[in-house]
Amino acid sequence: MKELSIHREEKFDFAHLFNYSEKINGNISPYLKDVRLAAADSFSKTGFPGKEDEKYEYLSVESLFEFNYNYRFIPEIIHFNIKHVFNCDIPTLKTHMIFLLNGFYYGGAQQLSELPGGIIYGSMMKAMEDKPDIFRQYFSRSTEMGNDGLVNLNTALARDGFFIYVPDNTVLDKPIQVVNLILTNKELMIQPRNLVILGENAHIKLVICDHALSKKKSFTNSVTETFVGQNSRYDFTLIQNEHNDSSHINYHFINQEKGSRVDTNSISLHGGIIRNNHYVKLNGKGSENYSNGLYLTDKDQTIDNFIFVDHAFSNCRSEQLYKGVLDDRANGTFSGRILVRRDAQLTEAFQRNNNILLTEEARMNTKPQLEIYADDVKCSHGATVGQIDEEAMFYLQSRGISEKNARLMMMYGFAHEVINRIHIDALKDGIAELVYKRLRGELAKCDNCAIISS
């Protein structure tokens, strides 16, 4: 991004942008101001991660910025009827739904809602103003955050996103759903910033849907921090369904306390460039993390999953299952780093990454990394890159199933293992349907979302 413009179409470079940001900091606490300043400072020194950064070996961040995106500190007012542009694909899924439009909370005056048990959810911007103590305790407190230029850029500039706070001993049956919509007639860069906090003995389910409704080029650099308290459970599902001209870099920092369990499912259906940075810190004895991912890519799409699981305490368990199908000239990367620290005895850590390449041109880099400093552990990792099993194809065809359908069944069967790990039945069925359509080449966008052409 050589130039950035904000809502008056003025041109800014990063230094100007940081200055401008500081001026319009608004009604936020000194802590937040300091954090933003420090992040801006840090970014000014490091810039975004380059090729020399091992974590970004296969993705050129710089090239993402070689484009004139518009950038906004306050939301653009867009007149439209949300019902005309968005219908959830999974209508049987009943949720507490909130919208982010171009990275800003969209939903009228009530910016923070409260649910029984004291759960608060809604706008990050509003929460920053209303809950300075919570922010002081949690915001930008995830380890590993500070040394990534893109995270610093987000910390320095991000204004809004979603905020969820779940007090101790609170269980919410109905999932909370956050729908990220991009609707614009200009090329746009957005930086949502999200914060999720679960106290002790709490349980919530969160579903995130990323949609780009306009054909315009967009670049999202989003950061989510999640804190899961003792003995709490957190089920997280992310559905990424944007388009070939969207680039999405996404950071999720998950911090888990003693005895907690987190399940995440990242389903990447569509996107020009998708990079998921998934950081898990097992920060208390006996905590468990299950991270699953499915990516279906074609054309010239890029999918890059980076995972870092930090076993800092004993008796923890982590499992990653990432599977992908790459068609045409698609390009994929999986890097999974598992760190088992010296005191993390009795760790169980298992990782698997399986890929199917449908063409000669499709590429996959898979890079498992186990770093183990404890001696009493059970760890394993495995990665495969292969083709569809021709013998199995023949078996299906010999029963009268066409080659095309047999191939589809095989791909679906391959993907199914990941889908099966989604705990919410309606969501599982909905995603199964979406995946099926995607594999049939019928899903250019989430079904019910109308693409708004500008």
Binding site: A392, Q397, S398, R399, G400, Y412
Partner: protein, 249 residues
């Protein structure tokens, strides 16, 4: 119904079938026996269109059409079924979905509407009873984690679902316990009509006590070297293959 004339075939350039002639009429049961590696499964592969096996000479007609020109799925839809010697496991592909797709493809060819979910499940239940296959098995992925015998039963279950006109059962009896053998044979017999034909490939005369063959052939070194009635199987059981080998050489 099936006519094989002077069939030669290779795998990886190696000649495996060396001039096979065989005619099968509707209503008949043929047994093919022969030592390991003689080419029995290869012959079955040719009939179902596995492209690993290359036909270099000869012809195969099935119900008047050139069988070798058809794709594997077309052959299935035309009524040919192979019970595989080694059924493959396909993780993630559910038995139900697999069979539903296959049955509906067959119905489409016959100009019939797809079965409703209810009718399909009813059909599954009926045919499962026929081979006394454990109900839970069909709720799993295709053959995944099935025991050897269960896999074989599953082949006959699929045969019962698809109602083929020409079934080729490649050592369906191997790995079955005595009770299962009776059940499978019973299933095959109940599916038998005057219009369909069966080729059973087996090493054991015992199966032929239950499925009575009209003809028995001995395949040796890529050729059918001897044909006879069901008493030929008894003779083989008694004497082994040595006397046939001697007879030829």
């Amino acid at each position: 119904m099936l006519s094989i004339k002077n069939l030669f075939a290779t795998i990886d350039g190696k000649e495996i079938l060396k001039g096979i002639d065989l005619k099968v009429q509707p209503g008949e049961v043929h047994a093919i026996m022969g030592p390991n590696g003689s080419g029995k499964s290869t012959l079955a592969s040719v009939l179902v269109g596995r492209d690993l096996v290359k036909v270099t000479k000869g012809e195969v007609t099935y119900k008047g059409v050139d069988l070798l020109k058809l794709s594997p799925e077309e052959r299935s839809l035309a009524g040919i079924f192979l019970g595989f010697q080694y059924p493959i496991e396909i993780p993630g592909v559910s038995m139900v979905n697999f069979m539903k797709t296959a049955v509906n493809e067959h119905r489409k060819t016959k100009g019939l509407d797809p079965l409703s979910a209810g009718d399909f499940l009813k059909m599954m239940r009926e045919r499962k009873n026929l081979v006394e296959i454990d109900s839970a098995l069909t709720n799993r992925s295709v053959n995944e984690g099935f025991s050897g015998g269960e896999k074989k039963k599953n082949e006959i279950f699929q045969m019962a679902m698809l109602e083929p006109e020409l079934s080729i059962l490649d050592e369906t009896d191997s790995g079955l316990d005595i009770d299962a053998l009776k059940i499978v044979a019973n299933g095959v017999n109940r599916l038998k009509t005057s219009k369909n034909a069966t080729i059973v490939i087996t090493h054991y005369q015992r199966l032929l006590d239950y499925i009575i063959p009209d003809k028995v052939h001995v395949l040796y070194n890529g050729k059918i070297v001897k044909s006879g009635g069901k008493e030929l199987a008894l003779e083989l059981e008694e004497k082994g293959y040595e006397w046939i080998k001697k007879e030829i050489n």
